[in-house]
């Protein structure tokens, strides 16, 4: 399968991908607008989840304790980023990557592979569910509001660092999901793995230093939960060290390249649904 890497494409190729993306999302939005009751459900679910998380933080901070040395406002930044990432998952990751397993099961993946476009790009961006947007907006708002209350001074360096770290965490999250979704090429029924991933990632609601040493190592080295919420929160609060920023970008790049390599590897073994 000749799939030219994105880097190998010229300016013209990039433009073509951009136009395709606009078409994809335009049609997805048009069809999703048919189900506006979903908006209500998603907003209610978000409000409930946030209320529950706040309740828990209140239980802890209300008795004068702290989560791993983080003040309440700083911990709220982490919660905001978690909410933001959850919104990204339900806007982009779940609708697209959840469909991969169905395509493998039904054999429609063949059609995707035949299209004159990068298959990973097609599978990762084909559709968009706008109902995660309230979560993205609320999460970002909460993170910024709490950061200001915690005494963060908005400067160019903080803004750039925070944006870069958020981008890294989205890339890491995407790569994790995509690699897991890719395994469905070999084991069709592994979709439940993503439930395990979601359960494990819920550890990212709280700063990583709130965990005992063993779990902290696990959530940094094995499953990069620390890079998903804690490191971006540190960057937004303006107290991330350069070493952590570099490390986060490195992890993001490595996981994206790995997901790409893994997808190619899987396609080499792919023999379609019937054979």
């Amino acid at each position: 399968m000749a799939t030219p890497g994105l880097t190998a494409l010229g300016m013209k190729g990039l433009l073509r991908y951009w136009r395709t993306l606009k078409r994809f999302w335009g049609s997805a939005l048009a069809s999703q607008m048919e189900y506006q009751v979903n908006l209500l459900i998603e907003v209610l679910a978000m409000a409930g989840n946030l209320a529950g998380s706040l309740l828990l933080l209140w239980l802890i901070y209300g008795r004068g304790q702290q989560l791993g040395g983080w003040s309440l406002d700083a911990a709220l930044v982490v919660l905001g980023i978690y909410t933001l990432l959850d919104g990204v998952s339900s806007t982009l990751l779940r609708p697209n990557l959840g469909a991969i397993v169905t395509q493998v099961q039904q054999g429609t993946l063949d059609f995707v592979l035949l299209k004159p476009i990068d298959s990973q790009f097609w599978l990762s961006t084909r559709t968009l569910s706008p109902w995660g947007l309230p979560e993205i907006v609320t999460g970002l708002g909460l993170a910024i509001w709490a950061a200001l209350r915690a005494g963060a001074r908005p400067g160019v360096a903080t803004l750039l660092g925070g944006a870069l770290m958020l981008l890294s965490s989205v890339v890491i999250l995407y790569s994790l999901w995509f690699v897991l979704a890719t395994t469905s090429i070999w084991f069709v029924k592994t979709w439940n793995v993503t439930e395990v991933l979601r359960a494990a990632l819920s550890a990212g609601r709280y700063p990583i230093s709130a965990y005992p040493a063993g779990l902290r190592t696990l959530f940094t080295v094995v499953l990069p939960v620390a890079f998903l919420t804690t490191v971006p929160a540190e960057a937004i609060l303006g107290r991330a060290s350069g070493m952590w920023l570099l490390l986060s970008v490195a992890v993001a790049t490595a996981s994206l390249l790995f997901s790409r390599w893994f997808w190619r590897l899987a396609l080499r073994d792919y023999t379609s649904a019937s054979s």
Binding site: Y35, V37, N38, I41, L44, A45, G48, N49, G52, L55, L56, L59, I60, G62, R63, G64, Q65, L67, G68, F187, K189, T190, N192, V193, E195, V196, R198, A199, A200, S202, A203, Y206, A210, Y211, P212, G214, L215
Partner: protein
């Protein structure tokens, strides 16, 4: 597959002996149906062992929360080697916390219900119509599927608990036999409440295709009030009292405390659970009858 055979004799006046004999036959018949249903569902579930293992693993939330709470229970440096109760002001020491969250994990594992997803799929794919023709309330089929799945889950839960005790040997304990029996009963009642609540939502599939979204909403109070993320002891008294007006604390916190050996009002809690079941059961059956009438009215 023919599981059910009903030999309903024409109605006539029966003597007491005939009545008893008829009742016995009926019970025997019910037992045979239950056995056939359960064993066929168990065979089906064994095919999905890998999936069940992953489902079991996806219930690790109590262990994550144990990480958070045990850090809070650790006495701050300088207070001396208390290692003891109430060091962090949460009223539970490290060992009690470990046991509680392990038990919460177990209680959750054996009270999980997924009837709304199975039912939605069956309804959308048209498998429900043949089920409705069989002279067996289709919900029994889902009950059997859940119980069979719990049996396939058992080895994985034992394995996870074994790993837990390897990592935390101090938390190892043997509950008294009476507590074990009471816990099994409590978890079974918790499963019944969960199953009935989800069935009510599942039946709403007859009216709306988005019924499973309601299940997502219902899961949120369950998550925060059931005791999965925090032991109810750390709740302020007013909030704890409010939570006990909902069925959620009985679904995880009560069985977990029962097994972990905490002091719980056993009789009152069991009474509350039975109360919730006797409230939910008629609602489920009424909704079911209305739903089926609507389903047939659609001409399906």
């Amino acid at each position: 597959m023919r599981v059910w055979r009903q030999g309903d004799a024409p109605r006539r006046k029966r003597s007491l002996g005939q009545l008893v004999w008829g009742l016995g036959r009926r019970l025997h018949h019910g037992w045979r149906v239950a056995r056939a249903l359960f064993s066929s569902q168990y065979a089906l579930m064994l095919e999905y062992r890998a999936e069940t293992a992953l489902w079991a693993l996806s219930g690790i939330l109590p262990f994550i929360m144990l990480g958070i709470w045990s850090q809070l229970a650790v006495p701050p440096a300088g207070l001396g080697p208390g290692s003891g109760a109430d060091a962090g002001g949460i009223g539970l020491d490290q060992v009690q916390l470990s046991r509680y969250f392990l038990c919460a994990f177990v209680a959750r594992q054996f009270s999980v219900a997924w009837v709304v997803y199975a039912f939605e799929e069956d309804a959308l794919q048209g498998r429900l119509s043949p089920y409705l023709l069989q002279p067996l309330q289709p919900l029994w089929r889902y009950v059997a599927a859940h119980l069979a799945e719990q049996l396939t889950r058992l080895p994985f839960v034992v394995l996870i608990a074994a790993v837990f005790f390897l990592l935390q040997p101090a938390a190892l304990w043997i509950p008294s036999p009476a507590r074990i029996v009471a816990t099994v009963l409590a978890i079974w009642l918790a499963f019944s409440i969960n199953f009935l609540m989800q069935s009510c939502i599942a039946i709403l599939c007859f009216w709306s295709e988005r019924a499973s979204a309601l299940e997502r909403l219902l899961f949120i109070p369950y998550l925060f009030l059931s005791g999965l993320v925090a032991p109810l002891q750390v709740f302020p008294p007013a909030l704890r009292a409010a939570a006990h007006w909902t069925p959620f604390p009985y679904m995880v916190a009560f069985p977990a405390q029962l097994l972990a050996g905490g002091a719980v009002p056993i009789a009152a809690s069991f009474a509350a659970m039975v109360g919730w079941i006797s409230l939910l059961l008629p609602i489920t059956l009424l909704l079911w009858r209305a739903g089926v009438r609507r389903y047939s009215a659609m001409g399906a």
